[in-house]
């Protein structure tokens, strides 16, 4: 076997390993029901759930409660299927949480609770102003 063929094979093998590792580490976007189903199956994989904070008729955010020492926060998130779910976040409340129109929580169910390790906030971008 030529040396170049061996090198070629090794490169292909590593590339395949990279692709397999990537697809197995990739998370996925899901709703709460799917995330729950996954957790009951015994998977502790982290899931991205996209939703909005629960609001009352006046448009005020409800169900948001920082812990006593402000070091963690719980809030109610409504996913795309309108399922409401209490989410616990073990971090001080992100300052712009109340203003965000979309929240991505990354985490999973732990005995009927959704525990988020991380949240990503999508804020109404004022990056490009279109009004005075």
């Amino acid at each position: 076997m030529k040396k170049s063929s061996i090198i070629g094979l090794v490169v292909i093998a590593i590339a395949v390993a990279i692709i397999i590792s990537t697809s197995s580490s990739a998370s996925s976007y899901a709703n709460f029901d799917e995330a729950y189903a996954l957790a009951t199956k015994g998977s502790d994989e982290s899931i991205h759930v996209v939703g909005e904070l629960k609001k009352n008729a006046l448009g005020e955010v409800v169900g948001l409660q920082p812990s006593q020492d402000m070091l963690s926060v719980e809030f109610v998130l409504v996913d795309e299927n309108n399922k409401e779910q209490k989410v616990y976040l073990n971090q001080p409340m992100p300052t712009d949480l109340l203003k965000s129109d979309k929240v991505v929580v990354i985490g999973g169910y732990k005995s009927d609770r959704f525990v988020a390790d991380k949240v990503l906030l999508k804020c109404p971008s004022k990056y490009e102003e279109t009004s005075l």
């Binding site: 996925s28 991205h48 402000m70 070091l71 616990y88 732990k110 609770r113």
Partner: protein, 850 residues
């Protein structure tokens, strides 16, 4: 607000005209140079001259466009949308430069400016390559100029112009009343970008982008003119130079993130960072294969593929970051200017054109039949280049998830690939092994430098560096307690690369060939960076950990990484005593910070009135009642004093919180204490906001005090000095039938300082108002409830709450300086190498061979 000023339409018209000229001239130049390149008649150079003139006109127009746009920003012409949305009056000149590239149009423009300047250099320095190379250059410039052309034909929009007037972009009734309305101030540069690195990082990045066009153009020119080998020599110095510029730009961006953002590091594997890292690795790989080719005529095909890939990946990076496709995966916000279609065309044009040009001559490319032996330098460099490509590929795949999702959807499928939850861990676990591979290869490959090697010679050469590096590594293990097996491998590999490259460098210097040391110096730098990254990231630890149970709701044990600090209440943490002393703001012309509780607002957030005299080190800077200017009033700094529990040494950090509407809220920035062997990185996660709904106030206590009487507010000694009539309340003058008084109260706080409270009692239009005076420093809210004229006493309402607090996180980053020193050494090595290769090119050119 409405000022009777003229709208400076001339600037916009000139700017727009210059864009059109540059666009047309670049197409003409591409055509003329193309004609010149396809003719073999060397005596007739009329097309060449025509192309050259067209490119000069093009380049001059591009420079003119940039100057015009800068003048619009510099002169605060807020009638222009670009100036209004990116600049403001309060910016110093260096940040006005940053405004220039905050918007997409400006950043396309700076890219185009670099290309034009590099084009001028190439015209001056090249002979036989000018025509074909400049054809490619002019074609790329035509695409770039089209991005800011701003021509609308029906529904079709070609480019987005930076010279649009505000009234043409924003529909607001004010323009119906007065079409010449000019806003008094712009909306400003995003305060997060008001940092010196943001003045220098973007133009460096775009210079790097522009430099990748040079090897690409030479490569295409070589394939086109069937001059398959000669293009490498002139392209190589520019490739190396591009490598150092783009590499430096990446590190600058990382350093900005480290200083400004609060994710606790310098690299977060965000798609925006990856987008530039991917082509940089391929660029470095192409540089190495070109060096192999210069030595022994192999690896030509690989070089061609890599050079083309580098440029295509730069275009792909541009597409990723500017089309808005990263929306859900990146923390950076990019608005879609509606240019994604144009960007796609740009990308596909160059992919298809390059593949076509390469495929046409692929079979004719010379190949060497001879296999490289495992004892040749070229063999190992080639392996190194392969490792770099795999390294790049591993980042490319997950970064492209949003693109993959889109493509699957396009074909009717459904794909919901999301980035790995723990990005840093995911990328690092692969990249660290590639890094180890690079370190080992760069250490070993260099030994094949000057002579033919065989097993025995190699053994002789390599034994000494291996022994030394093992000894040094062992010393570090013991001193730094490193047990993680992967980190041990990193350390040994890095140490080996440093030692062996150092040995080679010494040998080269000894033999007088210091000009050839570029490679070994750069490799030492890279290996040091690897070791620095291993220490600072691998052993980065949150030192603000504590074991308080946050919530019993959590099923598993979770410790908190954050610590709550109450004002003036010291708390021990990781060998320090931490004391949160005050909340301050940065006033222009005054050293240090001014306490927030001493400041009164005015109508303009940039101006505030001080209630006390401000002095520093014996010099008085302001008297009570003076108005102070705050250039960035969005910034609040928290004074935190660290006292070492062992040595008693003190230092103070000022982590920042920025009220940033552009980013949707508050942005936390760290403050960093640098030691020679570590950084202590501290940021405020959350600050108390007494106005918010979560603040619980005590029941109002009413007390009656006489002038001069002492009393207590929230355990602080206070003194009622007396009543005072005031002429205006909240910037509104008090009318003849109204009355306004304030009670002057002095509160004695920590460090023998005094605080003034001024609760007011206002009768306006027969309405009574008792606005509360809130003071965060003493966590109290005071109202002037009643005034008893008979004895001069007043009744005060006092509400108190929990003391002012902040939630803080502190991280220790060991040996981070090795990373920064390594970076500087790498840059220096690259520059030495660039110089060497450029001199080689000049010599050959002057012999008429290039």
């Amino acid at each position: 607000m409405i000022l009777a000023t003229t709208v400076h339409t001339a600037f916009g018209n000139i700017g727009h005209l210059l864009v059109i000229i540059s666009f047309v001239a670049s197409i003409v130049a591409a055509f003329a140079y193309g004609k010149a390149a396809s003719t073999d008649n060397l005596s007739d150079n009329s097309w060449l001259k025509f192309g050259r003139y067209s490119f000069w006109i093009h380049g001059t127009a591009v420079l003119g466009t940039a100057v015009t746009l800068f003048l619009i920003i510099y002169n605060n012409y807020f009638e222009y949308h670009y100036a209004w949305s990116h600049a403001s009056k309060d910016l110093p000149v260096h940040y006005m430069i940053a405004c220039f590239w905050e918007g997409q149009e400006g950043s396309f423009l700076i890219w185009s400016v670099w290309n034009a300047l590099l084009g001028f250099v190439l015209i001056k320095t090249n002979k036989k390559w000018e025509a074909p190379v400049m054809t490619v250059f002019a074609a790329v410039q035509a695409f770039l100029a089209s991005m800011i052309l701003g021509v609308v034909i029906g529904d079709f929009k070609l480019g987005s112009s930076p010279f649009l007037l505000l009234r043409d972009v924003v529909s607001d009734p004010v323009f119906l009343i007065n079409p010449n309305f000019i806003p008094e101030d712009g909306t400003g540069l995003n305060p997060l970008l008001q940092n010196y690195w943001m003045v220098i990082h973007p133009p460096m990045t775009f210079l790097g982008f522009a430099l990748t066009l040079i090897p690409f153009s030479f490569c295409i020119a070589g394939l086109w003119r069937r001059d398959f080998k000669d293009w490498i020599r002139p392209a190589l110095p520019w490739t190396i130079f591009g490598g150092v510029i783009l590499g430096t730009a990446i590190i600058m961006g990382a350093y900005w993130a480290y200083e400004t953002l609060n994710f606790g590091g310098y690299w977060n594997w965000d798609p925006v960072e990856n987008a530039v890292y991917i082509p940089w690795l391929i660029l470095i790989a192409s540089m190495h294969t070109m060096i192999i080719f210069k030595k022994n005529d192999t690896a030509l095909k690989t070089s061609i593929v890599l050079v083309i890939s580098t440029f295509i990946l730069i275009l792909y990076a541009t597409f990723l970051t500017r089309s808005g496709i990263l929306g859900d995966t990146s923390v950076h916000s990019f608005t879609d200017l509606g240019l994604s279609g144009q960007l796609l065309i740009y990308l596909f044009f160059f992919i298809i054109a390059s593949i076509f040009i390469a495929a046409r001559v692929w079979k004719e490319l010379p190949t060497s039949e001879q296999e490289a032996t495992a004892y040749s330098r070229e063999f190992w460099i080639f392996i190194g280049a392969l490792v770099l490509c795999l390294m790049s590929f591993q980042v490319l795949i997950p970064t492209s998830f949003p693109v993959i999702n889109k493509i699957v959807e396009l074909f009717g499928g459904y794909s919901s690939l999301a980035p790995p939850t723990n990005q840093v861990e995911f990328y690092s676990k692969w990249q660290v092994w590639f890094g180890i591979g690079i370190a080992l290869l760069s250490g070993t490959g260099q030994f094949f430098f000057w002579k033919k090697m065989d097993k025995d010679k190699l053994k002789n050469a390599i034994t000494f560096p291996i022994l030394i590096s093992l000894m040094l590594s062992a010393l570090v293990f013991v001193l730094e307690d490193i047990y993680n097996p992967v980190y041990i491998v990193v350390l040994v590999a890095g140490m080996y690369s440093v030692v062996s490259n150092f040995k080679i460098m010494i040998d080269l210097v000894k033999s007088g060939s210091y000009k050839l040391t570029g490679g070994s110096i750069a490799h030492i730098g890279i290996a040091m960076m690897l070791v620095g990254i291993m220490f600072s990231e691998g052993y980065s630890q949150v030192i603000s950990k504590n074991t308080t149970i946050i919530s019993r709701e959590f099923t598993e044990e979770q410790n908190s990484d954050n610590v709550v600090l109450f004002l003036n209440d010291p708390k021990p943490m990781a060998g320090y005593s931490l004391l949160y002393k005050s909340e301050g703001m940065k006033a222009e012309g005054i050293p240090g910070y001014v306490k927030k509780s001493h400041l009164d607002d005015t109508e303009d957030p940039h101006y505030k009135i001080t209630r006390v005299n401000i002095s520093s080190e014996g010099k008085q800077y302001a008297e009570a009642g003076d108005t102070l200017y705050f250039r960035v009033p969005e910034n609040t700094y928290h004074e935190i004093e660290y006292t070492s529990l062992s040595s008693g040494k003190k230092f103070t950090l000022y982590p920042r919180i920025q009220q940033n509407e552009n980013m949707g809220g508050r942005v936390q920035s760290p403050s960093i204490k640098k030691y020679w062997n570590r950084d202590v990185y501290t940021f405020v996660q959350l600050e108390a906001d007494f106005d918010d709904e979560f603040t619980e106030w005590s029941e109002k206590e009413i007390i009656k005090v006489m002038p001069g009487e002492r009393f207590f507010i929230n355990d602080y000694v206070a003194n009622f000095k007396g009543l005072e009539r005031i002429p205006s309340v909240n910037f509104v003058d008090v009318g003849p039938n109204d009355a306004a008084v304030q009670a002057n109260i002095e509160v004695l706080i920590e460090d023998n300082q005094k605080l003034l409270l001024e609760p007011k009692f206002v009768i306006k239009d027969n309405n009574l108002a008792r606005p509360a005076e809130l003071n965060q420093e003493i966590a109290s809210r005071i109202t002037l409830e009643n005034i008893n004229p008979e004895d001069g006493s007043v009744e005060l309402g006092i509400e108190t709450t929990q003391k002012d607090w902040i939630i803080l996180q502190a991280i220790e980053k060991p040996q981070i300086n090795i990373l920064w020193i390594g970076t500087i050494i790498m840059i220096f090595g690259f520059i030495v190498a660039t110089r060497r290769r450029y001199i080689e090119f000049m010599k050959m050119r002057d012999k008429g061979l290039a």
